[in-house]
């Protein structure tokens, strides 16, 4: 097995050749600083604006509403802290969920230390936020709501449009981390009542180290960094021209081919889910079966631990991820798996498979065949499985 089967596309994706091609001139001869006034800077300047319209078009925004940043973590930090600080005279309450990415969760925790109050909405066993709970959490002091569009671990798609509608009615600014959504499910900021949104290029075959934030016209937000006048004075620092061009090209391709991608990837996903649930005992699917992003499958295999599973898969050339504690760098398994009500020992045995454009249908068969063997092997040496077999429960 010389070729690897990469199924960790929710972590990052492989750059598309067309994207690299679009970027190349700005890594070589077109090296001018876009802020300079001589002719060498003309093309980079134009290229950034072209990328801005590509992003705007992809999400249904106006070009002036798109700001380029270094990554989605920056966008998340900036959106949440920026709004909290700009609107603190209006209130100090923020609504979010228990299944946000750490870029949001840790940002909110840091705001709590400053005196902001945060409501973290529960999710149901499939990871869905209730619109009713959201409505009930609103107080006179609520200034911001931030809800992850598609959860990065379990792939559940939240009722963004409905939440956005309520937020709009109540005059609350609504941000969503749409990192996993772009290129995998339709995103339209106007139609979905989204005020702010975070984007990361490397999740849809663009380069790492570049992202974008959409900020609806009329929203006040303080710059996150002090410095030069780049990005219409909103985001200081010399632009990552090649990265921005790559982001533009990648988001254009991702949204133009969205229907095709969704059809292809959901077929792979459904085949994997069906075969795993049918052919391996003591396994559960994490996340909603229907309201689920096209490229994500997440399972818990009872009696075994996720890191051992990942290592075994890696030895077979399969690259995936897990929410087990051993892969998170802490003693607790993923907060998302705990939020959907999984007991620790079952959360430890999770596996996330996320498909991408480069995957083929044969990959699913190869994964299932190897999974069956690996799960059986690890269970054979698990004292939890031994106890289960002995007690019949």
């Amino acid at each position: 097995m010389s070729e690897k089967i990469y199924v960790d596309n929710a972590a990052t994706t492989r750059l598309k050749p067309e994207v690299l091609e679009a970027m190349m001139p700005y890594l070589t001869e077109e090296y001018g600083n876009p802020s300079s006034i001589y002719s060498l800077s003309n093309k980079p300047k134009i290229a950034i604006e072209n990328a801005r319209s590509q992003v705007a078009k992809a999400i249904g925004a106006d070009e002036k509403e798109v700001v380029f940043v270094s990554c989605a973590t920056e966008a998340d930090n900036w959106a949440v802290k920026g709004i909290a600080h700009a609107y603190k005279n209006k209130g100090n309450h923020i609504i979010s969920t228990k299944i946000e990415h750490h870029a949001i969760l840790h940002t909110l925790q840091s705001l709590e230390k400053e005196g902001f109050e945060v409501t973290y909405l529960d999710v149901d066993e499939n990871g869905l936020v209730s619109v009713e709970d959201f409505k009930n959490a609103i107080t006179d002091n609520t200034i911001l709501a931030t809800v992850i569009f598609v959860n990065n671990e379990i792939g559940t798609i939240q009722p963004i449009k409905e939440i956005g509608e309520i937020a709009k009615e109540k005059g609350i600014i609504f941000h969503t981390d749409s990192v996993q959504a772009i290129g995998h499910t339709p995103v339209d900021v106007k139609e979905m009542n989204i005020d702010m949104l975070s984007i990361s290029a490397h999740k849809f075959y663009g380069p790492k180290g570049v992202g974008a934030m959409y900020v609806r016209k009329g929203i006040r937000i303080f710059p996150y960094m002090d410095g030069g006048a780049q990005e219409n004075r909103k985001r200081a620092g010399t632009e990552n021209v090649a990265g921005i061009v790559g982001l533009g090209k990648a988001i254009e391709m991702a949204t133009e081919n969205l229907d095709e991608t969704m059809t292809k990837l959901s077929k792979l996903r459904d085949k994997l889910i069906e075969r795993v649930l049918n052919e391996i005992p003591h396994v559960r699917l994490n996340g909603d079966r229907e309201k689920r992003v096209c490229h994500n499958a997440n399972f818990s295999f009872r009696f075994i631990e996720g890191e051992a599973l990942l290592l075994s898969l890696d030895l077979k050339g399969i690259l995936a991820s897990s929410g087990s504690a051993c892969t998170s760098g802490s003693l607790d398994p993923s907060h998302v798996l705990l939020a959907i009500g999984l007991p620790h020992e079952i959360a430890h045995g999770s596996l996330r498979v996320s498909f991408g454009d480069f995957n083929k249908e044969e990959d699913v068969d190869y994964i299932v065949e190897n999974l069956k063997e690996i799960v059986a092997r690890l269970r054979a040496m698990s004292p939890l499985y031994e106890a289960y077999e002995r007690n019949g429960k």
């Binding site: 009696f303 075994i304 631990e305 996720g306 890191e307 051992a308 290592l311 075994s312 030895l315 087990s324 504690a325 051993c326 760098g329 003693l331 398994p333 620790h344 020992e345 430890h348 054979a380 040496m381 698990s382 004292p383 939890l384 499985y385 031994e386």
Partner: protein, 143 residues
Amino acid sequence: MYSEKVMDHFSNPRNVGEIENASGVGEVGNAKCGDIMKIYLDIENDIIKDVKFKTFGCGAAIATSSMATEMIKGKSISEALEITNKAVVEALDGLPPAKIHCSVLAEEAVKAAILDYYTQNGIEAPELSGCNGCCSGCDCHHE
């Protein structure tokens, strides 16, 4: 991330299994922490004639169980009690810092199995440390 030795013991673990009517069985860790190690000993005339293990846990937990069982096989009880987690780590050519607790678990599982043997045979046990190998809230200072 893991040494070749660790990957070898993870992919081809030695002494996996159970011993029926074992002289001593020790189980440490818990499912909540993500690792449980169970060691079975067959002891005759103070010598560990056979040893088997079962482990629920990460790659390092499986590799340390395998290595620890290899290290105590054929040894006397007192020799087995002298094997520290550090010795297991060294035998594996090192472990990442976050995985040291797995080696602690292995040392403790061996001790727990020997303790069980003592109890079963009414032998007064020497003082053994009381760590259960679960690192959340652990204040044992292992190296």
